[in-house]
């Protein structure tokens, strides 16, 4: 393997680590707002890292420009969707988690 392939493989595996951490947070967190926190941060970072790994693997071509557009769109669109969901939840009155309720 060349050096660039090692760099792209490292980027992809770190992205997969963040995606699995986000899925674990979606399963384990006790509240809607904390679950949305895990989903928004970890998934955006994981997907952008994986697509960045593909850009490093591809080199400079037409396809890598397309992948760059895709990662930039995900980087813009994913927090906007998360913000819309959390605003809808707050305005319709989803309850927040408190520590006394778990005992």
């Amino acid at each position: 393997m060349e050096a660039l392939h090692v760099v792209s493989a490292l980027l992809m595996f770190s992205g997969v680590f963040f995606m699995i951490a986000g899925a674990l947070g979606i399963i384990r967190f006790p509240d809607f707002y904390t679950r949305l926190h895990a989903a928004g941060k970890c998934d955006t970072l994981g997907e952008v890292l994986i697509i960045l790994g593909f850009i490093v693997y591809e080199g400079f071509s037409f396809l890598s420009v397309k992948l760059l557009f895709l990662s930039f769109f995900i980087l813009l669109a994913n927090p906007v969707g998360t913000h819309a969901l959390i605003r809808a939840a707050y305005l319709t009155g989803v309850k927040m988690w408190k520590k006394e309720e778990s005992q």
Binding site: H5, L24, L63, A84, L85, A88, V94
Partner: protein
Amino acid sequence: MEMLDVFLAVGILITVSILMTMYRVFRGPTTLDRLMATSVIGTKVVVLLVVIGYLFERPIFVDIPLTYAMLNFVGTLIVAKYIERGELWKPYT
């Protein structure tokens, strides 16, 4: 370890994380939980389509994830907007 093995491992791990997110779709306490998990699965499937395109050596399939990402974003935004206005139903008040 060739590069195709790396792509295969990344695809399998993304599929595992999609199956972990499906738990929240099946048994979410609120409707917004299911909507959030569906949106997360949509953005994971975008990356999975890019991985499959490279795995089968037809990476020109990147156009399909671009369209799918835009459709997923618009769908999530519109359903969140309807729930926020209370036009569909009044869920939690």
